[in-house]
């Protein structure tokens, strides 16, 4: 059974066992506009929570994607490298960025639930 949480930096995290799948939220993808380039972390790299993990670019903007939780990179979504439009097409599904083996379950638990995140987006 998987659970999904959200960061205030507009990343989502889906946890299955100790494997977290991470991407950017639908709201973030809409704000960014057409994504033209995605730079993903190296497999095997260990990321710390809130550290820079990936880069996502539209024509006029480049944004850092942060790791919402710490962990070691297990897999990256290479399909995005060839077809960055995948981020716009299905940001919270097929447009995932990378998977981590998480180091600290507590970090995940402290992230926002869907309702909380939706409220944040509404406020902004």
């Amino acid at each position: 059974m998987s659970q999904t949480r959200f960061s205030k930096d507009h990343e989502w995290v889906r946890l299955e066992g100790d494997v977290a799948t991470i991407g950017i939220t639908r709201h973030a993808a809409e704000q960014l506009g057409d994504v033209v380039f995605v730079e993903l972390p190296e497999v095997g790299r260990s990321l710390s929570a809130h550290g820079e993990a990936a880069v996502v670019e539209s024509v006029k903007a480049a944004s850092d994607v942060f790791a919402p939780v710490s962990g070691e990179v297990l897999e990256v979504n290479v399909a995005l490298t060839d077809d960055p439009a995948g981020v716009n097409a299905d940001p919270e599904g097929a447009g995932w960025f990378f998977k981590l083996r998480i180091a600290n379950r507590g970090e995940f638990d402290s992230l926002m639930q869907q309702a909380e995140y939706d409220a944040l987006v509404k406020e902004s």
Binding site: F37, V59, A61, A62
Partner: protein, 449 residues
Amino acid sequence: MRYLPLTPDDRAAMLARIGAKSIDDLFVDVPSAAVVDRGRFALPDGMGELEVERHLSRLSAKNLAAGSAAFFCGSGAYRHHVPASVDHLIQRSEFLTSYTPYQPEISQGTLQYLFEFQTQVAMLTGMEVANASLYDGSTAAAEAVEMARRITKRAKVVLCGGLHPHYAATITTLAQLSGGEIIAAPRRPGQGEDLASLIDGETACVVIQSPDVFGLLHDLRPLAEAAHAKGALLVAVLNEVVSLGLLEAPGAMGADIVAAEGQSIGNGLNFGGPYVGLFATREKFLRQMPGRLAGETMDAAGRRGYVLTLSTREQHIRREKATSNICTNSGLCALAFTIHLSLLGEEGFARLARLNHARAVLLAERLGAVRGVELVTQNFFNEFTLRLPRPAEAVIDALVEENVLGGVPASRLFPGDSAAQSLLIVAATETNSTDDIETYAHALAKVLS
């Protein structure tokens, strides 16, 4: 003032619309302590065209223009013949007085020539992609080193001994800022260099110039192999891009980044600037490349067109994370390059290169035959080094009296290097007639006798 269209009446009417009593009202935010009187400046009042021409022509006349002498200087700037149409075309208002092509719908002229320029540079250097130019060859070389360090995440930079010293200084100035470690190989004028032994697992790149500052040609292939074996990149530097009409392209010899001075094609000597930096690399390093890029796309009506692209690498978007702080290219110089190279084409460019080489071979024979003069560079394109029986600088000064600008004394480039005192770096191009060459040989014999 002839450039200012507003009349006193216009100014009064405009102030009235604004609701200001005088122009001073518009400068109210300036602290009064910083307001300067008209009479404060030790500067003249305005002049008419005729007076300006008179003043500047007087300064111009105090110089010995290259075209008024038998001229043989190179060392990073070369005198070639530029067809009349080049200067005519680059002075068209639409090229000369337009801004960076940020509005592609009304800037296709600039964008398309930049795309043509990028293609030409990639073709000449044997690389996959080129940018829309950098300031000049030296800054392109410094950017190449920074790029190699970003790609490899390593600190060490090996510079060949034959690198133009201004290029080495520019690279060093920039590299030191971010913790780069420069390893400069010893100078061996006219001889091969053992750079491979300086490369190790910490080396980001090795910078090789060919033809080098002494004119010597280097085979890049063994060095590329040695660099790649250690995970380092090969940065190839060129001062004289016309050499590529005759010589193997650095890309074909394994270079990863090519940084070259493009002045030789389309651009005059201009006492050192403006010039045009050529910068080319492999496609896989594209995202790490500095500078502007024009790319092909379609408009809403499905017609082919061009835009500036991949600008997320650049300062106006990436700010402190940009690949470089460069905010411009050398647009008009790049246009001159593109037009001149289009006029030359494959055949003309090769012929130009052969002509340069033939002139230099003849010059080397004639000067090498002067008593006491030794040819130091055996394999060269259009530039070589001589060893004179006397300090070269004094010889060059004496040659001026014979109306010969006979080259660049190595002591000007390597002051304090006693071995350089007697070396003279000499270049010949298609602009040198056989008479020029004979004049030089006679004058040198006279000065040395």
